[in-house]
C-alpha cells in the first residue's frame, strides 16, 4: 500500500473511530472523565428509600442527573486545556483532516515526480 493511501485509510479510521466513540459515550458537548468531586456530590439512594418516598407521596421522578454521572464521555469539543480533556470529536477530525491533507500533498508530489520521470524518458 502506498503512503498516501495508508494515510488516507488512517485518516478515515481516526474519523470513524472518533465519531463512533462520541456516539457510544452519549454524544455530549464536552469531553469529560470520571470526576471525584462529581461522584462525591451524589452517593445515590437505596431502593428502600425510594420505596419509602413513594409510599409517603414524594415521587422520585427521573431527573437530569444522568447527564452528569461521573464517567468518561468523548465530547464534541475539548472539555479543558489539559491533555486528557483535549480529546474530542473535533480534535480527532482535525487530526484526520491533517492526515488526509498530508496524503494529498504526498500523492501530488509523487504524481509530479512520476510525471517528471516520464518526461525525462
Amino acid at each position: 500500500m502506498s503512503v498516501p493511501r495508508a494515510l488516507s485509510v488512517l485518516a478515515g479510521l481516526v474519523a470513524l473511530t472518533a465519531a463512533s466513540l462520541w456516539f457510544a459515550t452519549g454524544r455530549e458537548g464536552y469531553t469529560r472523565w470520571p470526576n471525584a468531586k462529581l461522584a462525591a456530590a451524589d452517593t445515590g439512594t437505596s431502593a428502600a428509600e425510594d420505596d419509602l418516598l413513594a409510599d409517603i407521596g414524594i415521587e422520585t421522578e427521573p431527573t437530569a442527573d444522568a447527564d452528569i454521572q461521573s464517567r468518561f464521555a468523548f465530547g464534541l469539543v475539548p472539555g479543558g486545556a489539559d491533555p486528557k480533556h483535549l480529546l474530542s470529536l473535533v480534535s480527532a477530525l482535525s487530526v484526520s483532516a491533517v492526515l488526509a491533507g498530508l496524503a494529498g500533498v504526498i500523492a501530488r508530489h509523487e504524481h509530479h515526480a512520476s510525471a517528471a520521470d516520464a518526461g525525462e524518458r
Partner: protein, 232 residues
Amino acid sequence: MTTLHRLIAVALLAAPATAFASEPVAEPPVPAELFGTAYHTLTGRAAQVTFSSRAPLDKIVGKSNRVVGYLVAGPEDNPADLAGAHWVLPVASLATGIPLRDEHMIGREWLDAGSFPTIEFTLTSVEDIAPVKSGDGFSTWSATLVGEMTMHGQSRPLRVENTRLSFLDESPKTKNIADGDLAFVKCTYAVKMSDFGITHKEVPDKVADTIELKQMLRLSTVVPEPEATPQD
C-alpha cells in the same frame, strides 16, 4: 482491560486531589426562640441540589450534596407550618463533572466563592399549606416556602411554591435512612442570576440567566454524627 479502561484509570490516578476539595460548612445553630421539633439536614448522601442552565448553545447540569441546615416543624397537627428553617450550600461543592467549568463557575466572574462562599436560604413564613397524604406515622404536605435567598453577597426575597414537606416518625423503614424522626423537603424553583448581581458576556447564549434548581433535602431529629457527613 480495554484501552478505554486503561485511559480512565490513568486519568483517575493523574487527577490532582486538591481539585476535589470543598470546605465543609457548619450547620447554622437553631435559634433558641424557635419552638418545635428541630430536624437537621443529612449531608454527604444523595444529591440535595441539582441545578440546570439551558442556554441556546450549551446545557449545564450540576449538583451538590453538601447542604447543611435545619427546619423547625410547626404544631403537631400542622407540622408544615414551619416555625423556621435555614439552609446553607457551600458554593465550592457544586460539581458539573468538568473541572475547568467548575473552576470558572466558582471563580470571580461568576459565583465568586472566594468572597461569597455560601448560598443561603432563610425561611420567613409558610403559605398555601395543604395536606397531600397521611398514614401510619407520616404526613405529607404541599406548601409555599417564603423567605430570603442570599447569593453572591446579595439577598433577595424568594417564594418556593408547591414544595412537598413530609414528616415521618421513626420506624424500621426510616432507620434504613437515618436514626430519629425524619423530614423531607422537595421543591423545584428558579432564580435569575442577574437578580443577584451575576452578569457575564456568556449570558444568555452559553449560560442561561434563569437557573432551575431541584432540591431534595433529607433531615433527621438526630444531629448527624461527624462520620455521617463525610468530607472529600
